[in-house]
Symmetry: D2
Subunit: 101 residues, 4 copies
């Protein structure tokens, strides 16, 4: 089963589809992104890559929350996020050419 | 090739690893999430699910940008976002039990 | 006493100036902004302007938190936010001319 | 004239009150907060407090944008943000007692 399908079932079983409009899901997504940011706000950049196990677990949970809302909003809009991300990689490769070595 | 591997190569080829610290990546992620939010800020919830093709393409690009930074921050932290998301689904199923039918 | 001066004293008394760098304060500010957004994410636009007293108090507290970090980051950067906001109003008046009546 | 009154006139002259619902204004506010964050995302904390004049001007404009939406959402909700911020300062003083010297 895909996360997309699991999220669909989850929302349907709770009658949440009426809340899961793209506008609302974009808000929920940025709220989760901010919970991720909150973990890092007072850390130095160096500290941010040396998290202890407890903090790392909390950060992983916030990353999961962002991913779940991202999959959900993409599904509601009929967008394939992985396909689109590959397209964006190509655009970025043109926009930011790698220096020659 | 996975998006994770492509992002690694992309960053390495541009010497961007020194910028790609979790604190910075969390900031970049929320900036992209806000660009997604911006598309919806003045729309009604109903309008937000009936985007025209041009707007839908722009929204898809923002979703892709969030996904790319999400994959990147998870990689830098050594977190598997899909595994963690499945774990989060289980926690949510306990936290928000579905009503019986 | 101004809020700016109170915030300065507050930070100094707790030895927080070393944390109150603009990068960190911008993160703290957006985290508070997201707590404001969270109150509205599942409401319809109409519901969002008819909050009950308890919810309205919580929203007011989030608005206050955003304001406090906004005053603080402006102070640390030596920016006068009200002066700059008046300048921005003028730019906006040019950018979005009012229709004639 | 206050910024609050100027913003009211500005919105009324453009018939924007129908868009200026708290839900939408909270979204606009976080979008501006993210534009502030964007300026700092790849800077070290130290670099973030030593901006050159051009960058500092751009940051000031983003701070102004956040302030304008903050004043606007507070006005639409009938909240006095400065009063509430003083109340929040008091709560914070209790929550985070200063160490004795």
């Amino acid at each position: 089963m895909s996360l997309k399908a699991a999220l669909r079932e989850f929302a349907a079983a709770r009658d949440w589809d009426r809340f899961h409009l793209p506008k609302n899901l974009a808000m929920a997504l940025i709220v989760e992104a901010a919970e991720l940011v909150e973990h890092f706000q007072w850390l130095t950049p160096e500290e941010s890559r040396n998290l202890d196990a407890a903090k790392r677990g909390e950060v992983a949970d916030e990353i999961a929350d962002v991913l779940l809302y991202l999959i959900r909003i993409a599904d509601v809009l009929g967008i394939d996020p992985v396909d689109t991300a590959w397209g964006k990689m190509l655009k970025n490769a043109v926009k930011y050419p790698a220096p020659e070595r």
